[in-house]
Symmetry: C2
Subunit: 94 residues, 2 copies
C-alpha cells in the first residue's frame, strides 16, 4: 500500500469538496434557467438535500483532520453566497 502524508490527503480532500460545491452550483443554475421556478418546493428540496450532502462530506473531512473547521465553514458559506446571488439574478430576470 502506498503511503501518503496527511497533508497530501488534505489537499485532495479540499479539492474534492470544492469540486462538489461547484457541481451543486451548476445543478442549481441549470434548474433555475430550465426547469423550475426558485419558488417551487421541489427546487427548495433539491437544494436543501444537496447542501446537506455537502455539509456531511465537509464534516466527515473535518473529523478525519483533513480539513480544518474554519475552511470547511468558509467553503459552505461561499457556496451559500453564490447560490443566493444566482437566486437574486434569476428573480430579477422574471
Amino acid at each position: 500500500m502506498s503511503i501518503e502524508t496527511l497533508s497530501e490527503q488534505s489537499e485532495k480532500a479540499y479539492a474534492l469538496l470544492k469540486e462538489d460545491a461547484e457541481k451543486i452550483l451548476k445543478l442549481i443554475e441549470v434548474q433555475m434557467t430550465n426547469l423550475t421556478m426558485p419558488q417551487c418546493p421541489l427546487y427548495e428540496e433539491v437544494l436543501d438535500t444537496q447542501m446537506f450532502g455537502l455539509s456531511r462530506e465537509i464534516d466527515f473531512a473535518i473529523r478525519l483532520n483533513l480539513v480544518n473547521e474554519e475552511d470547511g465553514k468558509k467553503l459552505l458559506g461561499q457556496l451559500e453566497k453564490e447560490l443566493s446571488s444566482l437566486h437574486e439574478a434569476s428573480m430579477n430576470r422574471k
Copy 2:
C-alpha cells in the same frame, strides 16, 4: 505536521462511516417508537435525506481511496437491511 499512512486514515474513515450509519439507525428507531408512523411522509423524508448524506460521505471516502467501493456499498446495504427489519417490526406491533 504529523504523518499518517493511508492505511491508518482508512481505518479511521471506515470507523466514522460505521458510526454514522449507527446514528441513522438510532435516529430512525427513536422516530419509529416515539414520534411518527412509518407511513408518515416526514419519516420518509428524514430517512431519504439521512441516507443521501451517508452515501455522500461514503462516496467521498471512496474518491479519497480511504474506503474501497465494495466495502462502501456493503455498509450502505447493511444499513438498508437493518432499517427494513426495523420497519417491519414496527408494522407488526401496530
